[in-house]
């Protein structure tokens, strides 16, 4: 497949605006500015583009709600709070192809009639902040941002806003709270941000990768875009592969590529001649898969049929030496640390799950621990306020389902079979 999101990144100067323009950059912006906002939204809707942050929500629908809302000003917010453990794809776009993101944002802003945009960048990427600051300045200097973009009377400004280390701010309403200078705790939905977002105004929150698809959709049109990926989930996808593979990295492939192909063909398979033990396919909030399930196609629609989820496309590959209880323990330390404290099932649930796993790892021989983890998990899934608490138990529950003998071995024999 031709590279779209990672086009030209082998070029060491790919982030430079001159290189970007030389390779056809900002041409699609001019095309878009000659269209009506409604026409752009229609094209994005027809393209079938779904949010790449993990939710898979149709992008065009979000835009349409915001455009039709009578309130103004409207805001376009780029979610660059890439925090799902195992994920590093947005970092690559922002480091190597930042003008693609800016071009996508300007088009999106024009389509929803927003004159102001924010990039909410995670605090853990200070070196990306430097790059984006320069990118934004270059775009202003060339007249792609400002009061009169490309002489077409369109206004759009971008402000870079840096987070300070809170996973929950990847959730769009928590992100909005954070932009308003508050603790990043999620809001109740509805109202959705597209009607009532930052400062109470219509706000579209889109992921970096999602927005970076926009110029290409404008360039080739929805009909051609639909030929990439699957009919239900069109387009390219950035898959992040880490862990025990020969070639870890970001791979741009059609949406719906099988997990097997990604791991073995692209990432080179398991390293050091070891056996594959398990794969976390979409970041640590998605259920784990055993080796017999890796023929699943990695997209939003098919992954649930295999008992997992696409998530952010963060694939963590683990070989036979890994103790899955230790992985669960580390994941739960993360969720307990990142729980924002707003709702009880998540705040207390993550802690109790963590304590239970730690007790099993100490060899406390309590047979009822497995059942209590399963029960706690189902309560958290049903009763948590936002996706953090709903998905925090996924890894543990799926590990019990697929690798129960490993739990039992820890409980009964006080040792790990791996």
């Amino acid at each position: 497949m031709e590279k779209i999101l990672l086009r030209n990144i082998e070029n060491p100067r790919s982030a430079d605006i001159k290189e970007y323009i030389k390779n056809g950059g900002y041409k699609d912006l001019l095309l878009a500015l000659k269209m009506q906002p409604g026409e752009i939204i229609e094209e994005v809707k027809r393209s079938g583009l779904r949010g790449r942050g993990g939710s898979g929500f149709p992008t065009g629908l979000k835009w349409e709600v915001a455009l039709r809302d009578p309130k103004s000003p409207k805001y376009l917010i780029c979610n660059a709070d890439e925090g799902e453990p195992g994920t590093f794809k947005d970092r690559l776009i922002m480091e190597k192809n930042p003008h693609l993101l800016i071009e996508g944002m300007i088009i999106a802003g024009y389509a929803i009639k927003a004159e102001y945009g924010y990039i909410y960048l995670r605090g853990e990427y200070p070196y990306v902040k430097k790059i984006l600051s320069r990118t934004i300045k270059e775009a202003y200097d060339k007249g792609y941002l400002g009061e009169d973009i490309m002489g077409r009377g369109v206004k759009f400004h971008i402000k870079l806003y840096q987070g300070a280390g809170a996973y929950i701010c990847g959730e769009e309403t928590a992100l909005i709270e954070s932009i308003e200078g508050k603790r990043g705790q999620p809001r109740i939905k509805p109202p959705f941000p597209a009607s009532t977002g930052v400062w109470g105004m219509p706000s579209v929150v889109n992921n970096v990768e999602t927005l970076s698809n926009i110029p290409y959709i404008i360039e080739i049109g929805a009909t051609a875009y639909l030929k990439i990926g699957t009919p239900e989930c069109p387009g390219p996808k950035l898959y992040c592969v880490s862990g025990h593979v020969k070639r870890p990295g970001v791979y741009e492939l059609p949406m719906g590529t099988t997990l097997r192909e990604i791991i073995y063909t692209h990432a080179g398979g398991v390293r050091d001649g070891k056996r594959l033990k398990a794969v976390i396919p979409g970041g640590i909030s998605t259920p784990i898969l055993p080796p017999q399930n890796i023929d699943c196609t990695m997209d939003f629609v098919n992954m649930p049929r295999y008992g997992s989820a696409l998530g952010s496309g963060a694939i963590i590959v683990m070989d036979e030496t890994v103790c899955l209880l230790k992985v669960c323990e580390r994941a739960l330390r993360f969720f307990a640390h990142e729980s924002c404290g707003k709702c009880t099932p998540c705040r207390i649930g993550t802690k109790r799950m963590l304590e239970t796993i730690q007790r099993i790892l100490r060899g406390a021989e309590r047979d009822e621990d497995i059942e209590s983890l399963l029960e706690l998990g189902s309560v958290m899934d049903a009763a948590s306020f936002c996706p953090l608490g709903q998905t925090a138990p996924n890894l543990v529950i799926s590990t019990i389902n697929h690798f129960r003998e490993e739990f039992e071995s820890h409980i009964k024999e006080g040792r790990c079979p791996s």
Binding site: E82, G83, E84, P85, G86, T87, F88, R91, R122, G123, E124, Y125, P126, Y127, K130, Y161, Q162, G163, A164, G165, A166, Y167, S178, I179, E180, G181, K182, R183, G184, W199, C240, V241, S242, G243, H244, P248, G249, V250, I280, I284, A314, I316, M318, V322, K326, V327, R330, A331, F334, H337, E338, C340
Partner: protein, 155 residues
């Protein structure tokens, strides 16, 4: 005394920079931390007075986000990731190495004030795990030898 007034001048000028901006608390706290290495109590006190935001609210924000520090630290901040991708690639061994070689504990500072250590949740360097930040610089594919070599650069 002079030091205190210099400190106040810096805080006042930062407050002025953000005074008329919406949602100013987070970037302001960030700038305060960049200036002092942590968020001093008297900064919170001044922000509260000038921006008319209750101190309790400011502390609510300042303690919510993991990257804000509330005590002075070392000259250089090491932020080592130990989340799943880094863990399975050997990050725990590096935590032990920092402890044995430099006497660095999580959240602690070396006696000579050279380094502080923060254990991080995923810093997005999973393809080059284990990874860390030293101040604003990113380093991946870490080993004990490599960490020792990198830290030599930070005096």
């Amino acid at each position: 005394m002079k030091q205190q007034s210099e400190k106040n001048t810096i805080i006042e000028s930062l407050i002025k920079k953000y005074k008329d901006e919406k949602g100013n608390v987070i970037p302001l706290l960030q700038d305060i931390q960049d200036a002092f290495g942590y968020i001093p109590e008297d900064a919170v006190d001044l922000i509260s007075k000038r921006l008319e935001i209750p101190e309790s609210k400011l502390y609510g924000v300042a303690t919510f986000y993991a990257m804000y520090r509330h005590r002075p630290g070392g000259r250089h901040l090491i932020q080592l990731c130990t989340n799943v991708s880094c863990m399975i690639m050997g990050a725990e061994m590096l935590v032990n190495f920092l402890k044995n070689r430099y006497g660095l504990e999580e959240g602690g500072t070396t006696p000579d004030g050279r380094f502080s250590l923060m254990i991080m949740e995923c810093i997005g360097g999973c393809d080059t795990a284990p990874s860390m930040l030293v101040n604003n610089d990113f380093y991946g594919n870490l080993t004990k030898e490599k960490i020792e070599e990198i830290l030599e650069k930070y005096k």
